[in-house]
Amino acid sequence: MAKIPKDLLYTEEHEWVHFSDDRTEATVGITDFAQKELGDIVYVELPQEGDALQHMESFGTIEAVKTVAELYAPLTGEVLETNHQLQDEPTLVNGSPYEDGWIIRMRVTNPDEAKALLSPEDYKARVAEGA
C-alpha cells in the first residue's frame, strides 16, 4: 500500500505539498504511489532557482528507466531551492519520496490555490480509483 502522510496536501498528478507555517513557502515532491509507478529513477530534470512557476504547468521531468513523467507546479510562485542531491542520487526519490527525495522549495504567491489541493483522504481515494 502506498504511503500517504497525513500532514501533506496532494495533487491529481501525484505530487505532495508541505506548506511552511505561514503558508508563504512550500516544499514539493512526488508521492510514494508515483515513485512506485515510475520504477527506478535515473535523471531528475530540475528548474533553476529563481524560475517562475505557474500552477499546473510543467516545471521539470523525471526520467525512470522505463518511462518519463512531467512534474507539474501545484501552485503559482517562484523556485527558491532545488534538491541538488538528486543530480547524483536520483533514487532518493524512490527510496525517500517524502523526505530526502524532496524536489523543490518554492515561494507561494497565491495561497488561495491551496484550496484546490487534495487532502490525504481525497488523495487516497484518487489512488484507489486508479491512476
Partner: protein
C-alpha cells in the same frame, strides 16, 4: 479495468510476491517485483525467473506441415533437425514483419511455432489462411505455460530441480537453440536452450496445471543460486542491451527484416515464401532504412524513447524504436530506424522539443560473458 484481462497460471504467485501488475497484450503481467534494475542485474549475475506463459504455442502437424511453415517463414525451416529450434520472421506479402517467432521441430511431421502474445490471434488467423495441404494446426496457447530461467547459474538451478527429472542430465550437452522433451506428472514438458536475455538460459514449456509446482520448486531451489523473479520491465532492458528485436518496436508490418537488423533470418535462396519477391526487390533497389545503435552522452541527462524523431541536418530522417538507460552499461542508449543514406550521421534526437546529439555506436551494445 482488470476484469477482462487474462491471467497466467502464476498470477497468484506474482501478486503474493508483491509484483506490480500491468496490462500487456490483454494479459495481467508482472512488470517488476523488487525493482527493474535489481532484477536485471540478478539475471546478468546469477539467475532470474520469468513467467512468459502469455506467449502463444501453435502445433503444425502432418506431411505438409514443413512446407506450410517454410512458406510462412523467411528462414530455412527445411534445414532443421529433430530437437532443433529456428528464429525467423513471418512476413506479409509486402515483406513487412507480421511477427518474429521460434520454430521447434519435434519430427518431420510435427512442429511448434512459438509466437508473441501480442500477435497470437493474428498469426493463428494468418497461418489458417495460408495452411498448405496435409497440414493440421492446433493452437495450444491457452493450455501451455512457459517459464524462462535465465542467467549464468540457470543450468545449475534447473539441474537441481526434481521436476525437470531425467532431462537434467541432458542439459549439460544441450547446445544453444536445441531442446529436449520429457514429462512432468505424465504430461509433456519441453526444455529449450533459448531465451531473450543474451545470457545462457532455458525456457521450460509445461501444461498450465504444472506451472505453479515448477515455479515453486525453482524459487525454493533457487535460493542458493541468488535466484529471484524478474518482470517484463527487466525483460525489456535485458533484450535491449543485446539488441534483440521487440515486436511493435523494431519489427512492424511496414518494416522489413532486412531493415530491422535481422537480415540473417532471411534466406532468399529458398524457393519461395510469403514476402520473398518484395524482399528480393528491396535488396536489389537498396534497403531504404536501417537500424542504428546510439548513445546519448551522460551530460545531456536524457533518454530517447520509442517514437522520438531522429534528425540529420535539421530534417527528420527516422525515429527511435527503443531507448532506455542501460542497467549493465549505465548509459543512455537507443535503437533507431533511419534512412540508410543518413545513418552514418551526424544525428540528433528530439527530446521534449530539444535536439540532442547522438553518437552512433556498434550493436549489440553488450555481449554477455556467460554466452547464450
Amino acid at each position: 479495468m482488470n476484469a477482462n484481462l487474462q491471467r497466467t497460471p502464476l498470477y497468484d504467485r506474482h501478486v503474493a510476491l508483491g509484483a506490480k501488475m500491468v496490462e500487456f497484450a490483454g494479459w495481467s503481467m508482472p512488470v517488476q517485483y523488487d525493482g527493474l534494475i535489481a532484477e536485471h542485474r540478478r539475471v546478468r549475475s546469477a539467475v532470474g525467473l520469468f513467467d512468459v506463459s502469455h506467449m502463444g504455442e501453435i502445433y503444425f502437424e502432418g506431411a505438409g506441415a514443413l512446407a506450410t511453415l517454410d512458406n510462412l517463414a523467411t528462414n530455412d525451416v527445411a534445414g532443421l533437425q529433430n530437437g532443433q529450434v529456428l528464429y525467423t520472421a513471418l512476413c506479409n506479402p509486402q515483406g513487412g514483419v507480421r511477427d518474429d517467432a521460434l520454430v521447434y521441430r519435434m519430427s518431420g511431421e510435427r512442429f511448434v511455432l512459438v509466437v508473441n502474445a501480442s500477435n497470437c490471434a493474428k498469426i493463428v488467423d494468418w497461418a489458417g489462411e495460408n495452411l498448405g495441404p496435409a497440414t493440421r494446426m492446433l493452437d495450444v496457447s491457452a493450455q501451455t505455460a512457459l517459464i524462462a530461467v535465465q542467467g549464468p547459474r540457470s543450468r545449475e538451478l534447473l539441474q537441481s530441480c526434481s521436476t525437470i527429472g531425467p532431462l537434467a542430465q541432458q542439459l549439460g550437452a544441450l547446445p544453444y537453440y536445441w531442446f529436449v522433451q520429457g514429462e512432468v506428472n505424465g504430461k509433456p514438458m519441453v526444455v529449450s536452450r533459448t531465451g531473450y536475455t543474451g545470457e545462457v538460459g532455458y525456457e521450460v514449456f509445461v501444461p498450465n496445471e504444472c506451472a505453479a509446482g515448477l515455479w515453486d520448486e525453482l524459487m525454493e531451489r533457487g535460493r542458493v543460486f541468488d535466484c529471484g523473479p524478474a518482470g517484463l520491465g527487466a525483460r525489456d532492458t535485458l533484450r535491449f542491451e543485446v539488441c534483440f528485436c521487440l515486436y511493435g518496436h523494431e519489427l512492424l508490418e511496414d518494416v522489413s527484416p532486412l531493415e530491422a537488423g535481422i537480415a540473417w533470418t532471411v534466406k532468399l535462396k529458398k524457393p519461395g515464401f510469403i514476402g520473398k519477391e518484395a524482399l528480393v526487390r528491396q535488396k536489389q533497389a537498396g534497403i531504404p532504412r536501417q537500424l542504428v545503435g546510439f548513445e546519448i552522452e551522460a551530460g545531456a541527462r536524457a533518454i530517447a524513447r520509442q517514437g522520438y524523431e531522429v534528425h540529420a541536418a535539421g530534417r527528420r530522417v527516422g525515429q527511435v524504436t527503443s531507448g532506455t538507460w542501460s542497467p549493465t552499461l549505465e548509459r543512455s542508449l537507443g535503437l533507431a530506424l533511419v534512412e540508410t543514406a543518413a545513418a552514418a550521421g551526424p544525428l540528433q534526437v528530439v527530446v521534449r522539443g530539444r535536439e540532442v546529439p547522438l553518437r552512433t555506436v556498434p550493436i549489440p551494445f553488450h555481449k554477455p560473458v556467460s554466452r547464450a
